[in-house]
């Protein structure tokens, strides 16, 4: 454990930069892509970049609760993606596409 800590400790900055890049990619994916599946993947990417950051900080501080949280988030994300994909299937059945523009009718 100690060895590992020493291994990544000086590189915390790298982790932060990596996570920021991943997160930004996720955000841009959500904003730019029209395919709902891709948007979902982007959201997962954002979530997991946060997970990675949490782990890095947890190790950095020698505090295990951060990693416990990561498990929580993964469990919740799994549940969320199940529901999301179910909705997606219904959207596809109803509109015949997975394009986000096909949901334009969902307005007042």
């Amino acid at each position: 454990m100690n060895n590992f800590t020493q291994l990544i400790a000086p590189n915390l900055n790298n982790y932060i930069i990596l996570c920021s890049i991943l997160f930004t990619i996720g955000v841009l994916g959500v904003l730019i892509r029209k395919n709902i599946i891709i948007i979902f993947m982007s959201i997962e990417l954002m979530l997991n970049s946060i997970n990675l950051l949490l782990t890095a900080f947890s190790v950095h501080h020698g505090e295990s609760s951060g990693q416990v949280f990561v498990f929580f988030i993964m469990a919740v994300a799994a549940a969320e993606i199940t529901v999301g994909l179910a909705i997606l299937v219904m959207i596809y059945r109803n509109t015949g596409s997975v394009n986000i523009e096909s949901l334009k009718n969902l307005k007042w």
Binding site: V27, L31, K34, I39, I100, E101, L103, K104, K107, W108
Partner: protein, 632 residues
């Protein structure tokens, strides 16, 4: 039997509840039995109290049932007072009330709404009993409002006729004006004496300066209430219109009981009134003015019920006149005798109207004495009683009032006598035109003429008996009696000088002889005019003298009130409606709605359904929040 006092008002109330709730399911005959039975029960209990009260074995008692209002320094109980005054009133209300209920069972038997009618009649008796039995002004006021409400409901009983509805509204609003005065008087009493209980107030008057502004204000405000309820100038115009209701209602509410509530209140508060001679002066003036004023209008009316209505107003004026003279027990004596003969007159009129298939114009009657013998005889007795022919009931009470007036001043006596003569004239005019001469109605009506059923003639007979002998409860000393009625009421009336006669017996004899002689003369004149000469009042719209026109239009009082009070009020309301309500109030309310509508119309275009934009807005929003967070 004193434990059963609470049953007296409760029985009519139960009758009301049963009849009111089961309105459509109760058949007419059962409704009549329930209504009459509840009043009869109450009457029997009243009798069981009256007899020991007469024997002297029952003293005046206050029975407290529960604490009604208790707040701060004020504590008001719901309690009944049984004393000679309330017993007298209770006897009249339940006794005459029962007879009129019985009569109604026959009179209203063809009416669709008979159950509703009896329900309200029972409620009226309940309220009236509450009014006279209450041991404080608050219970009295509850009954006071109750009778006003019942009066409204019963005047407008045939609600499909808009005129009747208007009459009902008029009565209610006029009464409201009086009620406001009464309420203010009550509050002033509460502030002055710290209580509304009669016993607490009347035993606590030593601090009050006689004729001070305070006591005058209290008594005058109470008198305003009495003016409304008892139809005195200037609030009398509702009573003649109230004849729109069924005739038994006119008999019970607008002749025998409710309209005497004002008299009752003042007699009950006589301790206060004795401290305010100035108010008594006003009452005296208003009373005699009303008595004369209404009598002159009565002279030319052609509607049988209108004549009786104006006669009632006039007689109520007499009662207030007596009160103004300080002769409280005499006023109450007249209430009692008036209840007998005026109820009888109204019921007799009802019997005539019943026989004439709803005709009320005396110009279309005549010669009814053979067809309606019982009505004829009873009506005659009542007419003699109201005219003050000895030994009928009206003679004793009216004579006593006139004697008191003479003590005060011969002028007042003269005015009183003129009123009495006018009463005699219009009553005999009515009597002769209705029962003498030849029949002037249509053939249809002539065929239909019939004496009323037994349920209607029995009350007539009983009331005729009472009108004949009712005066014997108060035979004055000069005629060998001992004025028993006055002694009976002595406990509740604080003695003043004018309660006892100062006149010598010979003067009284002369006054009596003069008035009876004048009355007899008037009857003879009336007989000559309407029977020997067979003159019939001219039809409406014919050319008449100025005086006659003035009288038959009731001095244009209704029109004057209309233009002084109603129209300006109406125009003011119109103005407020146009300006304040439509522009300001509606403007504010609609303004809110419009603002929300317009704003949302703009904002809703943001939600155009493109999820991409939503996501963009969401991310943008989060970024903005983060930026603000770092800055602040």
């Amino acid at each position: 039997m004193i434990e059963l006092v609470w049953l007296i008002p409760i029985l009519p109330l139960l009758g009301f509840l049963v009849l009111g709730i089961g309105n459509n399911k109760i058949s007419k005959s059962i409704a009549g039995i329930i209504a009459c039975g509840s009043i009869l029960g109450a009457f029997l209990i009243v009798l069981s109290l009256l007899i020991p009260m007469l024997n002297g074995t029952l003293q005046a008692t206050t029975i407290s049932y529960f604490e009604w209002i208790s707040t701060g320094k004020i504590s008001l109980s719901f309690s009944f007072l049984v004393d000679p005054l309330s017993i007298v009133m209770m006897t009249i209300i339940t006794g005459v009330g029962f007879l009129i209920h019985l009569y109604s069972a026959g009179y209203m038997s063809h009416d669709e709404g008979m159950t509703r009618y009896f329900a309200f009649l029972n409620l009226f008796v309940f309220s009236m009993l509450l009014l006279v039995m209450g041991a404080n002004y608050l219970v009295l006021f509850a009954g006071w409002e109750g009778v006003g409400f019942c009066s409204y409901m019963l005047i407008g009983f045939w609600y499909k006729n808009q005129n009747y509805n208007d009459a009902a509204k008029k009565a209610f609003i006029m009464n409201r004006i009086g009620d406001l005065g009464f309420l203010l008087g009550m509050l002033l009493i509460l502030q002055t004496f710290g209580s509304l209980e009669y016993s607490a107030i009347f035993s606590n008057t030593s601090n009050i300066v006689p004729n001070s502004n305070l006591i005058i204000a209290i008594t005058f405000l109470l008198f305003i209430g009495a003016m409304g309820k008892s139809a005195q100038i200037p609030l009398y115009t509702w009573l003649p219109d109230a004849m729109a209701g069924p005739t038994p209602v006119s008999a019970l509410i607008h002749a025998a009981t409710m309209v005497t509530a004002g008299i009752y209140v003042i007699v009950r508060s006589n301790v206060l009134y004795n401290l305010a001679p100035a108010t008594l002066e006003i009452i005296q003036f208003v009373g005699i003015a009303t008595a004369l004023f209404a009598a002159t209008i009565g002279l030319v009316q052609n509607d049988i019920k209108k004549v009786l209505a104006y006669s009632t107003v006039s007689q109520l004026g007499y009662m207030f006149f007596a009160i103004g003279l300080g002769a409280y027990s005499t006023a109450l004596f007249h209430v009692v005798t008036h209840a007998f003969f005026k109820a009888l007159l109204f019921l007799g009129a009802g019997s005539v109207i019943h026989a004439m298939s709803g005709e009320q114009d005396i110009r279309n009657m005549g010669g009814l004495s053979k067809k309606l013998p019982i009505t004829f005889i009873t009506f005659l007795l009542a007419t003699l009683a109201i005219s003050g022919i000895p030994p009928f009931a009206g003679f004793f009470s009216k004579d006593e009032i006139l004697a008191h007036a003479f003590e005060k001043s011969p002028l007042l006596w003269g005015l009183g006598l003129v009123g009495a003569l006018m009463t005699t004239f219009y009553m005999f005019r009515l009597f002769f035109l209705t029962f003498f001469g030849t029949f002037r109605g249509t053939e249809d009506q002539k065929h239909h003429l019939h004496e009323s059923p037994l349920s209607m003639t029995i009350p007539l007979a009983v009331l005729a008996l009472l009108s004949t002998i009712g005066g014997f409860i108060g035979i004055p000393e000069v005629l060998g009696g001992n004025n028993w009625f006055k002694h009976f009421l002595t406990p509740i009336i604080s003695s003043t000088h004018s309660e006892s006669h100062l006149l010598s017996h010979s003067t009284e004899w002369i006054l009596m002889g003069l008035s009876v002689g004048a009355v007899l003369l008037t009857i003879i004149i009336t007989y000559i005019v309407y029977v020997s000469k067979k003159s019939i009042p001219s039809p409406d719209h014919s050319s008449e003298g100025v005086v006659h026109k003035l009288l038959s239009n009731k001095y244009y009082i209704d029109e004057i009130y209309e233009s002084i009070f109603v129209k300006p009020m109406y125009q003011l309301s119109q103005l407020l409606h146009q300006f304040f309500d439509l522009k300001i109030i509606d403007g504010i309310v609609n303004g809110f709605g419009l603002t929300v509508n317009k704003t949302s119309a703009r904002l809703k275009s943001i939600q155009d359904g493109s999820l991409g934009f939503y996501l963009f807005a969401m991310v943008g929003g989060i970024i903005l929040i983060l930026i603000f967070n770092t800055i602040l």
